[in-house]
């Protein structure tokens, strides 16, 4: 049975230049579709993929990624903003790799577009008043 899942991959600095995705194709016969890619401020790679393949091979591919040192997360919209805590300063705007924070050009209010969020967690600790939170 073929399955298809959207996942977020965090590459530590020592793996950024390794041909890992190539191995997914070659060894596990995976099809992949890059949804988003970014090098984050700590020089880690961030890759959001839709990964498709036979279930058994898919499980093997995920196991391979984890064993290599890649952090694998399911792509779920689990980052939320505590509206009463946000001061709309805008410190998050240039931190977010996918521009999920948008400043209204007139009011300067900062809106969080959760549809764009890839749950990379970068805003959690860079928000000065810690208004962003993970919801389970």
């Amino acid at each position: 049975m073929r399955i298809s899942k959207k996942i977020v991959l965090h590459f530590p600095p020592n793996l950024v230049d390794k041909p890992i995705i190539y191995r997914l194709v070659k060894d596990y016969d995976m099809e992949f579709n890059v949804l988003r890619a970014s090098v984050t401020p700590k020089e880690e790679g961030l890759l959001v993929l839709e990964l498709t393949g036979e279930r058994k091979a898919y499980d093997g591919a995920i196991r391979f990624l984890k064993e290599t040192g890649v952090e694998v997360q399911p792509l779920v919209k689990d980052i939320a903003r505590q509206e009463e805590r946000c001061t709309h300063c805008g410190a998050c705007v240039t931190i977010c790799p996918v521009n999920a924070f948008v400043v209204d050009p007139v009011t300067r209010r900062v809106d969080f577009v959760s549809d764009k969020c890839i749950a990379c967690d970068l805003c959690l600790r860079t928000c000065p008043v810690r208004a962003m939170e993970t919801r389970l």
């Binding site: 401020p41 400043v103 000065p128």
Partner: protein
């Protein structure tokens, strides 16, 4: 055209004062001209809401039975150390204090999730705060230890007293190096990855009164959601910086020291703040009313973001090494466009102070004045101006 504060206060008391925000005044002056607008407008309200580290609160928690003297001992509020070097039960909690057991930057970049600024926010929110003190004990103050809850509603005094707030203009921080920097200007990505700034610009109090012609000691202000006063000029107050033709400083210049009763403030406007890899602090809301005493003063309040320049400073070397170089100047209008150009590179910009909330402060103060609830005060002395000859001095170390 000249007006006095007394005349303006009479109009406020009658509910007839014309009050506009520092944002609204820009369009009014463009439409009607300075002379007509100055005649009509009585007060322009300003606002700023940003992290301000030189903030803190004096508390008097009352005397325990038997008595204890904190002075000379050690003192903690919610595990955050407070200053005890005062009389028996007075203390000062500073915004940047962090718990003794906080890993700080040993686990870099440190999180600084809870510090003095957060204690102040919790106090203002009416939450119980744990006080732990150890003292050496005297004949008149025999207790050597106390652990108890305190609450702002019960203790004698809680006075917010910030020795430096509301900087008149500030640096735009960038990073020319190859590594990420964690600064009080936020996270700075390597190789000019972003540019962070921190001023309300055209809404900011001292940028609307560039030569300190109305704001002085005793000026009644919006402070932390309540009423406060300008106590003094702030530390590092430096009127003698590069200024534009409009008189507006192009560098960090004047500052305010402010004071007020913490009990009537609101935790919406005093928010505990954490800068990753830098430390804990307090985001403070301040709004200053500017009485339109003359056309000259009105002209100053009509300043707009495109007329205010800020210096771009490299925080990888220039700032930490206290070097004077700037990479260029940009206006707040450019900064608010979302990106600026530095050394031929397009760099995205972000603000650390909230313009949205600064607008709300200016609008709130405007409402208070319009409703006749907030009268203006005449300063008992003005802040030191350009003529003061103040020189902003560095610390030159001497051999010991």
């Amino acid at each position: 055209m000249t007006k006095t504060i007394e005349e303006i206060n009479e109009r406020i008391a009658r509910g007839q004062a014309v009050v506009v925000t520092a944002e609204e005044v820009i369009g009014i002056v463009e439409k009607k001209g300075v002379a007509k607008a100055a005649k009509e407008i009585d007060v322009v309200t300003t606002g700023t809401f940003g992290p301000m580290c030189s903030s803190g609160a004096f508390l008097n928690v009352g005397h325990s039975k038997p008595r204890i003297k904190f002075g000379g001992g050690k003192l903690y509020l919610n595990d955050v150390p407070a200053y005890a070097g005062l009389a028996a039960v007075d203390l000062y909690i500073g915004a940047t204090a962090t718990p003794d057991d906080d890993p700080r930057n040993r686990d870099h970049p440190g999180d600084f999730r809870y510090g003095g600024g957060h204690v102040i926010e919790d106090l203002v929110a009416g939450k119980d705060v744990l006080l732990v003190a150890v003292a050496y004990g005297t004949d008149c103050y025999p207790r050597k230890k106390i652990e108890t809850w305190i609450n702002i509603k019960i203790i004698n005094e809680a006075t917010l007293f910030n020795i430096r707030n509301a900087y008149q203009n500030y640096n735009v921080a960038v990073n020319l190096s190859d590594r990420t920097l964690y600064t009080y200007m936020g996270l700075l990505k390597p190789r000019l990855g972003n540019a962070n700034f921190s001023s309300a610009g055209q809404l900011s109090p001292l940028l609307n009164d560039p030569y300190y012609k109305t704001i002085g000691i005793g000026t009644k202000i919006f402070l932390g959601g309540g009423v406060g006063y300008v106590a003094w000029h702030g530390t590092q107050h430096n009127p003698n910086v590069l200024r534009g033709e409009n008189g507006v400083p192009k560098r960090g210049a004047g500052t305010l020291s402010v004071i007020g009763d913490l009990k009537q403030m609101n935790s919406r406007w005093l928010v505990g703040t954490s800068f990753l890899g830098y430390g804990a602090t307090l985001t403070v809301g301040i709004g200053v009313p500017i009485p339109i005493l003359s056309e000259e003063i009105l002209r100053y309040t009509a300043v707009k973001d495109s007329d205010i320049f800020a210096p771009i400073v490299d925080y990888s070397k220039t700032y930490p090494e206290r070097e004077p170089d700037v990479l260029g100047e940009v206006t707040y209008a450019e900064l608010r466009s979302g990106h600026i150009k530095i050394l031929e590179k397009v760099v995205p910009t972000a603000s650390l102070s909230s313009y949205y909330k600064a607008s709300e402060i200016a609008a709130t103060l405007k409402e208070w004045i319009k409703r006749g609830e907030f009268l203006l005060t005449k300063p008992v002395a003005l802040l030191p101006g350009v003529e003061s000859g103040i020189v902003f001095k560095p610390l030159e170390e001497r051999s010991i």
